[in-house]
Amino acid sequence: MAELSFNKDHGYLEGLVRGMKAGILTDTDYHNLAQCDTLDDMKLHLQSTDYGKMLSSSEEDLTVSLVDSKLRENLVTEFSCLRSNALPPLSTFLDYITYSYMIDNVVMLITGALKQRDVAEVLPRCHPLGAFDQMAAVGIARTPTELYSAILVDTPLARFFQEAVSDTNLDEMEAEILRSKLFKAYLESFHSFCKSLGGATRDTMCPVLEFEADRRAFIITVNSFGTDLSGADRSVLYPSCGKLYPEGLQLLARAEDHEQVKAVADCYPGYKIIFDDPEPESGCKTLEDRFFEQEVKLNTLAFLQQFHFGVFYSYIKLKEQESRNIVWIAECVTQRQKSKIHNYIPIFK
């Protein structure tokens, strides 16, 4: 029955986000972009899309990083428009989207501080969607406990910290573990939040978040090969809201090499295709790209239903993927790597 009154509170924003979704670059756009020879050509082409004059107003020379930051700026503008018009529970939902960026930012700042980088140097590289007031002070902390009790306790991230609090000194490894722990807590919390919302939101968001959780589990496992992270250590980091939970995660914790991970994935038809040997014509795609591809597929599904919040999450994720695509193409264009230019992930085919 939530559908009856959905439009009263969130109808405008849903309409808005669906309109913005129509501006997502199409196959022909990508095709045209891939034909460009210089960044200026790309700028010219992007002008004819919804990005409009995004790049043309700048007086500096066009670089890939400038494109990247402009794309981010664009995304943030759109997001803040949505966020500032949102009513609860959509506002909470949108906040949840930003938390993942905040976690990334925190970890980035910690690693930056460990490498003795100036905060002013690291700050611009943080994702603006995950910006928060206390960001610059993250470098002060030396242990996760300190980080939590002094700086992050006021931020919304605080509640994800309960499990991550430890007194070990922060080093780079520890920062990664911290990130995984935070993500685990974040994903589980987001998952239960979506579940509590119920209705179409649950139906669309839960598969996406479950996929996200499983992806993290896979990635953690694959990345841990060759480090001193033991299986038991790993299993603490696996988010428990995915489809792999609990048997798959146990198997993953025991896995020792890529083949074993693949064997685990084989039990799950959704993940089997990701780990399958690449077909010859598709070129060699990294595992990451395959996950992204799958994510895009899942996110596009959200637009098939109405009256739910999944579209907001999906839109942000798709837009992020689009930014990655554009940056990839721009990178290829500047480095004259025409052969790799088609490795972007098209969104709406």
Binding site: Q35, C36, V119, Q134, A137, G139, I140, I151, D154
Partner: protein, 840 residues
């Protein structure tokens, strides 16, 4: 007289390199032709003149910056009446250089100004901080045991110093919203080894980085120890505090304050002068800004057009393909010559007409009077090429149908005066360039409104309605006195009866019809409504049938022009017969009844409705016939109508099928003449069958290309049956649809009567003294309601219904409206980026 769109031809322009720019510029000024894209496969950034377009965009960017700066300083950009020509390519560099110089100068001055402003702000913040922190120090030293600088410097040994920790101060400003979080974090990180005191600044200060005006808070942190100091510093950074050095003692504070004051004064002076200079520069720039904007716009448009052209093999000349009205070909040649002369080309550019099988775009030339009506038609659909345009007829029928629904003399006069005012002041109004969309809509339809107003006056006179009251201009033809003189009525009858009926059969009571419109005496009658209802209902049907028949008749011109003579017999004739036999006969009966029955035998007048129904069910022998031979005629008409349905349904498909199988056409061919006419005139979709019929003599020839597409009998039959059903059912429903004329005019009349009765009459019923005072507000209310409800709301609704009657009931009888509009390359039609942004 039939009005069609202009004859078009496809022409190739050979533009000699060197003069192509001037030629296109010349064409853009005149707006004669529509260019076709000759390189559709080339993406926009791979075309030939991309670099020039980029340069134009760069200039646009600079101009945008300039205009924004000009707007910020509130300098008006003077507009020239005459728009400057596109600059020749050599002059472009000059303009570019000028613009770049201006931009550099401006941005330098702006940067300086910003730096100065920043400085000034910092100094003001510092002053505020010094003033406020002094109170902290004093209050602390008075009430608290904490060491202040005075004791620090004077006694030199406090408790903390004995512990070996050094006392430090950090002071500065922070935004008010952040204070709480700042304080909390400070406490958490430094575990209480700090003391924070803060107070709000009374004035609103501009933020240094964002330029927002917000409340700020001055704070002073005292802390012990270097380690804590570093942390405090970091936290301050994190909260974007503006830190300023804290003076050691009161004397120093006073000194700093003094020097600050003088520096602020100096800065203010310099700032003022910078602004003055900036203003001068912008003033100068604003003088030529308008012409720059226009020039750049034109230049960019020219290069975009040049990008549509293809190059000839030798690269010596550009080839462009254009649609051009045949009547404008001479002008086109003239323009090219002019362009070649300007461009100093040795070889002239020239035009070459080429045959084409594409459907040309539709161009209907309009003036300011007809354009409104044309746009009414085009809102439905742009006419096919060379199709009969309904717009000229719409000029009369649209206001007329509107007025039938809006018939009121008073309202019509008000409306006409409003429209007349718009028409008379149109030059001033156009200059104002109002951005109000609603006003623009009304203004662009001013001639329509004027016509509607005038026609409403006319129908108002017919209905004899003026603000729901009747005018007794010629003197009523009815006489009450005659009733008395003929001894029908006496004074007693008046006293005993509340309602009396005038009998027209009594001599002298009814002296003949009122010369023009409805007799004013009906305004007094109780049965006025039923009288008018019958009259208006019949009138609507009559108007409707005439309007629809006219639409069907117009279709014959289309059939003849597109050389589909078979359509005349197989489509037009049965359609017209069907319509006239059924509804034309209804009209005949209405008129016949009006003529045949007078006042004397009105009691025997039959009901047309019953007769009409009986005509369909073939009954009613017991009814007295309207005229001798009625039954026979009716049966005859029904049979004809029923026979025309199968003709409509099967005639065209069967004929086309027969043609396809190689039958001879209905008409003999007329040799070459017709072949040529087809190839150079139009070849609209329907004419393709014609080609069929053209080639029948040649069908032995191998590889004939005239059989354009596979003939699908099923398709044609399906299409035709849909058309037939639509037409036959449409005739009935459309006739009924015209009854809206009656319904709306009734609603309008009733509404204005209610308004009069409920509002105006209140004021008129009072005694004179009270009434005079009371009438003023009552009339105000009456006027406001009349304009808002009766004129605007009712007007809009009548407008919409008139629109519907034209689009659906009238135009679907003959008008396809699937054409493409001719969009000439014309500088004056190009929108300017700056106008959209409101910069000009």
């Amino acid at each position: 007289m039939v009005f069609r769109s202009e004859e078009m031809c496809l022409a190739q322009l050979f533009l000699q390199s060197g003069s192509e720019y001037d030629c296109i510029s010349e064409l853009g000024e005149l707006g004669l032709v529509e260019f076709r894209d000759l390189n559709p496969s080339v993406s926009s950034f791979q075309r030939r003149f991309v670099s020039e377009i980029k340069r134009c965009e760069e200039m646009e960017r600079i101009l945008g910056y300039l205009l924004r700066e000009i707007q910020k300083t509130h300098i008006a950009v003077p507009e020239e009446d005459e728009s400057p020509l596109a600059p020749p390519p050599r002059q472009v560099l000059e303009i570019m250089e000028q613009l770049q110089r201006l931009e550099m100068e401006l941005s330098e001055v702006a940067r300086n100004k910003e730096k100065l402003q920043r400085n000034l702000l910092e100094l003001t913040e510092y002053t505020h901080m010094l003033k406020i922190t002094r109170t902290f120090i004093h209050s602390r030293s008075r009430y608290e045991e904490f060491p202040t600088m005075e004791t620090d410097s004077v006694s030199g040994c406090t408790g903390m110093q004995r512990l070996g920790a050094k006392l430090g101060f950090v002071s500065g400003l922070i935004q008010r919203v952040k204070v709480e979080a700042f304080e909390r974090m400070l406490w958490r990180v430094c575990k209480g080894y700090t003391i924070l005191s803060y107070a709000e600044v009374d004035e609103n200060l501009t933020d240094l980085d964002t330029g927002e005006i917000s409340k700020s808070v001055v704070f002073l942190i005292s802390f012990w120890g270097d380690q804590i100091g570093q942390k405090v510093q970091k936290i301050c950074d994190c909260y974007h505090c503006h830190l300023y050095p804290h003076p050691e003692n009161d004397e120093e504070r006073a000194d700093v304050l003094d020097s600050l004051r003088t520096r602020i004064q100096d800065l203010n002076n310099v700032l003022h002068r910078t602004e003055e200079y900036l203003r001068q520069v912008l003033q100068k720039a604003s003088e030529s800004a308008f012409s720059w904007v226009v020039q750049v716009k034109k230049m960019k448009a020219i290069y975009h057009i040049l990008n549509l052209c293809s190059f000839d093999v030798t690269n010596k000349c550009l080839i462009a393909e254009v649609w051009c009205p045949v009547s404008d070909l001479a002008n086109l040649r003239g323009a090219l010559e002019e362009g070649a002369r300007k461009g100093d080309a040795t070889v002239p550019s020239f035009v070459n007409r080429i045959p084409s099988s594409d459907t040309p775009p539709t161009l209907l030339r309009t003036n300011k009077f007809t354009s409104g009506f044309q746009s009414i038609v085009e809102a439905y659909g742009v006419g096919d090429y060379r199709e009969v345009s309904p717009a000229p007829y719409t000029i009369i029928t649209f206001p007329f149908l509107f007025a039938v629904m809006f018939g009121d003399l008073g309202h019509g006069i008000v409306m006409s005066f409003f429209a007349l005012w718009m028409v008379l002041t149109e030059k001033q109004q156009k200059k104002k360039r109002s951005s109000n969309e609603i006003w623009e809509t009304f203004f662009s339809g001013r001639y329509i409104i004027l016509m509607m107003g005038i026609f409403s006056i006319y129908t108002g006179l017919i209905y004899n309605d003026c603000f729901s009251k009747s005018l007794n201009i010629f003197g009523s033809a009815w006489s009450v006195k005659a009733m008395f003189t003929n001894q029908q009525w006496t004074n007693k009858t008046l006293q005993t009866n509340s309602l009396l009926t005038l009998d027209p059969n009594v001599t002298g009571v009814f002296t003949g019809p009122y010369p023009f419109g409805i007799d004013p005496i009906w305004n007094l009658a109780v049965n006025r409504l039923s009288f008018l209802n019958s009259y208006k209902m019949k009138m609507s049907v009559v108007i409707g049938v005439i309007h629809m028949s006219f639409g069907v008749v117009l279709s014959i011109f289309n059939h003849l022009h597109f050389q589909q003579k078979f359509n005349v017999y197989l489509l037009f004739l049965p359609e017209l017969l069907f319509l006239l036999c059924l509804f034309g006969y209804l009209v005949f009966m209405i008129v016949y009844k009006w003529l045949a029955f007078g006042a004397r035998d009105s009691s025997q007048a039959p009901s047309i409705l019953i007769h009409f129904i009986n005509m369909f069910v073939m009954q009613g022998k017991d009814l007295a016939p309207l005229y001798p031979g009625q039954t026979g005629l009716q049966i005859f008409l029904i049979v004809i109508a029923m026979l025309s349905v199968p003709v409509m349904l099967l005639g065209k498909p069967l004929y086309l099928y027969w043609l396809y199988r190689g039958g001879k056409g209905l008409r003999r061919r007329r040799g070459y003449e017709r072949v040529r006419r087809v190839s150079e005139d139009d070849t609209s979709a329907a004419a393709s069958y014609e080609d069929d019929d053209e080639d029948e003599g040649l069908d032995e020839m191998p590889g004939r290309e005239a059989l354009p597409k596979e003939f699908d009998f099923g398709d044609v039959l399906l299409y035709q049956s849909i058309h037939t059903i639509e037409f036959c059912l449409g005739c009935i429903s459309n006739t009924a649809s015209y009854l809206r004329l009656w319904a709306l005019s009734l609603a309008h009349a009733q509404l204005s009567e209610v308004l009069w009765g409920m509002v105006m009459r209140l004021g008129l019923r009072m005694t004179t003294r009270v009434g005079v005072v009371f009438l003023v507000p009552v009339f105000g209310l009456f006027a406001v309601l009349t304009v808002s409800i009766l004129l605007v709301m009712e007007g809009l609704s009548a407008f919409l219904h008139a629109l519907r009657l034209h689009w659906v009931e009238f135009q679907n009888k003959f008008y396809h409206g699937t054409g493409l509009k001719f969009l000439p390359f014309d500088f004056s039609l190009l929108p300017s980026v700056f106008e959209q942004d409101g910069l000009l």
